[in-house]
Amino acid sequence: MMGRAEEARTLGKPLSGYTERSVYVKAERATRQSKTPEAGSSATPLADMMGIITPSALHYERHHAGVPTIDPEQHRLTVHGMVERPLVLTMAEIQRMPSVSRIAFLECGGNSGGEWGALTGPTAQRACGLASCSEWTGVPLRLVLEECGLKPGAAWLIAEGADACRMQRSVPVEAALGEALLAYGQNGEPLRPSQGFPLRLLTPGWEGNLQVKWLRRLLVTDQPYMTRDETSKYSDLMPDGKARIFTLMMEAKSVVTFPSGGQRLPGRGLYELTGLAWSGQGLIERVEVTLDGGRSWQAAVLQEPRLPKAFTRFRLAWQWDGKPAVIASRAVDETGYVQPGKEELIAARGLNSGYHFNGIKLWKVAADGSVANADA
């Protein structure tokens, strides 16, 4: 018996119906203190993630009126407006239709909003964590619209959630006829309540707010309804005082997650630098990494499978010589679009746009191995 570790001297836990993670694994979403915690966001701990799938329990959240508890038996989706046949569908009926599963990232239009200003995120989670990636399962929205029959002139869908604010967004019909899903599954199980259980809209590559959760209604119209969350919020205010509206696609972005702010390298030697890249336009074609603050860039290795509009993991073997270093990644997508630097973004859009920040994020590694935000 001598010399045996405790766990080898006592029986482990018996079988169970549902597995919790190890007590030693602590990664959590980051929230902020708020008097209205039902309207806010929680960020995915990107630096703790492996591969490209975000565990559903750590998928970022952004709600405007809390997470409703919805009985799927009672839930209905109503499609009406400029259609030949308005329809009310139960969840069972939606799940009878042909389904597809695909991996797609989801990113809040306000992700990295703090990066526009002086108080930039000290960690990958704080700087870029309103982005996650899941396998989603659902019915192509196109099939449901075919059941209804769009009338000529139908150009927009006004999507409405069943939450307390009845979240509402105008969705261009092109999205609906393309890749959009009425999603009910996430990572092999029904959607988590915070991701819209039992039904959400999914428009891969487009900003999160558009992908209305707890979806209860699609009103088909010939015009956008200029709803609160596409005018007052999620629009990009330019220096001339005009605001860009319907900037829906999330442009290519990447972040180094190791080494990243808040971490510490134990000493010089070989490390695997890694991070995540994604683009709302499709595939990540290339990710380049700098170890000298942007003077030189080298190609990182992209982990397969590389999927359009999904997280792509990149890696680079890095021999750290123990000297201070400034590191960052830069993504290039299949359209040739190159992730810009913060200065270039500001030159184009000024300092008041608030949303849709996809700039390069720099980390500085100090001689003692500590890693911090280089833009602070």
Binding site: A65, P86, V88, R96, E147, A164, C165, V173, T231, I245
Partner: protein
């Protein structure tokens, strides 16, 4: 983008009459109304009812001021007044008065989402009243102007023409 969608919509229209999957049920007009109003920027979809800012004053104090401040200057909830003329400055203040392009959408939003902690408690008339009050505080309408399904759509918001389409890609990378 437009041409493509029109073509696709036309193609879909052809199979409109037939149901391929035999799912769903056609709702009646009453059932659709029961889902609640959805209001277009021009006011289409606004329900019956009318009120003035005078009637909204008391109601705002009771139902909104706790979070938005006595004068809607902002507290737990965002400011609903002021900011006109600031959008092109280094400190823009986006409010209903300075930023929101369409008055009927204020009605729609307040009706669907406010009061934040008790959505749905206000009658349609009461929503007209608090919306009239917020517009009045912003100097957009008079205190006695009657707001209803017709007049609200005619209110000209200061930032009516303040929104422009997405011109991206707009950033030059080095």
């Amino acid at each position: 983008m437009r041409t493509l969608s029109v073509a696709l919509v036309f193609a879909l229209g052809l199979c409109a009459q037939t149901s391929r999957y035999g799912v769903g049920r056609v709702p009646g007009a009453e059932e659709i109304r029961g889902l609640g109003p959805t209001v277009a920027p021009d006011g289409t979809g606004l329900p019956e009812g009318s009120a003035t800012a005078v009637e909204g004053r008391e109601l705002f104090a009771q139902k909104c001021a706790k979070c938005h401040g006595e004068k809607a200057e902002g507290d737990v909830g965002p400011a609903l007044v002021g900011g006109q003329g600031t959008l092109a400055t280094p400190k823009p203040r986006k409010t209903v008065g300075s930023f929101w392009p369409h008055a009927p959408v204020v009605w729609d939003y307040v009706h669907r989402a406010m009061p934040f902690n008790q959505p749905g408690v206000l009658s349609h008339r009461e929503v007209y009243a608090v919306v009239a009050y917020v517009l009045f505080l912003n100097g957009i309408i008079g205190e006695k102007d009657v707001m209803d399904a017709k007049s609200l759509g005619k209110v000209r918001m200061p930032n009516r023409d303040g929104f422009v389409p997405d011109p991206r890609p707009d950033v030059k990378s080095k």
